[in-house]
């Protein structure tokens, strides 16, 4: 069981000694029980930090933001930044390190084990509260405990945990500078890729019915892309910023431009966007599940990424975020890679 005070003490200590320039963690937000990302720079703020089942966010996104948007950090990183990372988050950091997005010494990983549980899926919680609002959520062994106006509500974590956490194989941040909580590998409550396996039991026609329905529903708010630490490209293929239109631009110029994906949120364009994204995440996605959590219309994006993850594992023996020095999935190969499908 993790004592949040230990996390706070570590953060305070690191900041007080000047060993890190900031700590990226979680704090209580202004919306009921939900935690939100916190960026603290002075030791006094350390007491704001929280650790509870609503700490969903994969904060490694903000390591990317620092590099991408803050010129002075890019040019002179100075002291490292500390970050609180769950197992999946730490694996994302490993992928970023593998891709040389920043250096290992630029980040101080305060690992937190998910131990016997994981994070909450808000959508699963609502039916248990009968319309009541929770003002606090806490870990307690195998349970989550929620505070509502009507009193305390204790639920078995597995009833309301995110699917990805139920299926998680590695709920422990192996890459870390400091770590809290026990490594409870092998505690998984569902088989790895359980949801994917269930889905794949359907025939091709049913799978298309399912996906075409969801591809129609995407509103292209790009929350999945924006929340993903792996979607760090300076220019995404769906954006039009590479195509300046000047007074000199003729209709023909416009017509002849390569527009991979149109702005219209219609099935054909949404498919191209979501499939391309899934491909770009193959071997990089660590199943933090943020894309699916952020999606305002509940498109089951995680299934696509899961599919790629399982193919990578089964066909190529590849595990995303396993080692900093290892090769990346699509920039490497083995002589033994399958080739039977090729004529």
């Amino acid at each position: 069981m993790i004592n949040v005070q230990d996390i706070r003490d570590t953060a305070r200590d690191l900041l007080a000694k000047g060993e890190v320039r900031a700590v990226i963690g979680y704090r209580r937000g202004s919306r009921g029980m939900l935690a939100e990302p916190a960026f603290i720079t002075s030791p006094e703020q350390a007491d704001e930090l929280v650790w509870d089942p609503t700490c969903f966010h994969n904060l490694s996104l903000y390591l990317v933001h620092d590099r991408k948007f803050l010129d002075h950090i890019r040019k002179n990183p100075g002291a490292p930044v500390a970050i609180i990372a769950k197992g999946c988050d730490a694996r994302s950091i490993v992928v970023l390190l593998q891709e040389h997005y920043f250096k290992r010494e630029d980040v101080y990983i305060i690992g937190v084990s998910c131990e016997g549980t994981g994070v909450l899926d808000e959508r699963k919680l609502a039916p248990h509260l009968n319309g009541a609002q929770a003002s606090n959520a806490a870990f307690d062994g195998d349970d989550f405990v929620f505070t509502t106006a009507e009193g305390e509500k204790r639920l078995q974590a597995r009833e309301v945990m995110a699917d990805r956490c139920l299926e998680c194989r590695i709920p422990f941040p192996k890459e870390h500078n400091a770590v809290f909580g026990e490594d409870k590998a092998g505690r998984q409550m569902e088989a790895p890729f359980a949801a994917l396996t269930r889905f794949e039991e359907q025939g091709s026609g049913e799978r298309w019915d399912f996906w075409s329905h969801h591809f129609d529903r995407c509103i292209r708010c790009f929350a999945c892309r924006s929340v993903c630490p792996m979607c760090y490209c300076d220019e995404c293929v769906v954006d039009s910023i590479t195509f300046p239109v000047t007074t000199e631009t003729t209709a023909e110029d416009k017509a002849n431009r390569v527009r991979w994906i149109e702005r219209s949120a219609v099935r054909s364009e949404n498919i191209t966007y979501l499939m391309t994204r899934a491909m770009h995440l193959a071997g990089r996605c660590t199943d933090c599940g943020e894309c699916e959590r952020a999606c305002p219309v509940n498109v089951p994006i995680r299934l696509l990424n899961n599919k790629m993850e399982r193919e990578a594992r089964e066909q190529f023996g590849f595990e995303p975020g396993a080692s900093i020095g290892g090769p990346s999935l699509v920039a490497s190969f083995l002589d033994s890679d399958p080739g039977d499908f090729i004529r």
């Binding site: 498919i271 191209t272 920039a331 190969f333």
Partner: protein, 144 residues
């Protein structure tokens, strides 16, 4: 004549410059008969093919997409086709996963000397595509 018999699938064929594209030339100069359904797009190497190209071809109305390059070990850039083999398998699996007919996507190794094989690959692909009918799943809808 029924609709089905008139239907001619449109194939977008991404051919590597060094092998398959040369193979297709050989098929031509050797006057080998094969269906004229494929639109060839020559690329420097199969390793340079982004899965995005394949999605985009389907988006723009291809009924089938072929990726063809040098045999394993023969890549002009030493390892481009090894990389392609992985990437193409992933996109193939993903297409099948969302319910696209597996026969819509094909990959082959055709060397510069294999004109006859190229003709055979195209013939087989077109024959396999015909029963599937037009590809509507990934295609951009017209005026809607």
């Amino acid at each position: 004549m029924s609709e089905q018999q008139v239907y001619e699938p449109r194939v977008v064929a991404f051919l590597c410059k060094w092998c398959s594209s040369a193979g297709s030339d050989l098929a031509g100069v050797s006057r080998i008969q094969y269906p004229a359904n494929a639109t060839p797009i020559t690329v420097p190497c199969t390793g340079a093919i982004s899965p995005m190209y394949i999605m985009s071809a389907f988006n723009k109305g291809a009924d089938g997409v072929l990726v063809s390059g040098c045999h394993i070990g023969d890549c002009h850039y030493i390892e481009g086709n090894y990389l392609a083999r992985r990437k193409m398998q992933l996109i193939m699996e993903l297409l099948e996963f969302i319910g696209v007919e597996p026969n819509r996507f094909r990959m082959s190794w055709v060397s510069a000397a294999e004109g006859a094989k190229f003709a055979q690959v195209i013939t087989d692909f077109v024959n396999d595509l015909k029963p599937l009918g037009p590809q509507e799943k990934l295609k951009k809808a017209e005026h809607s």
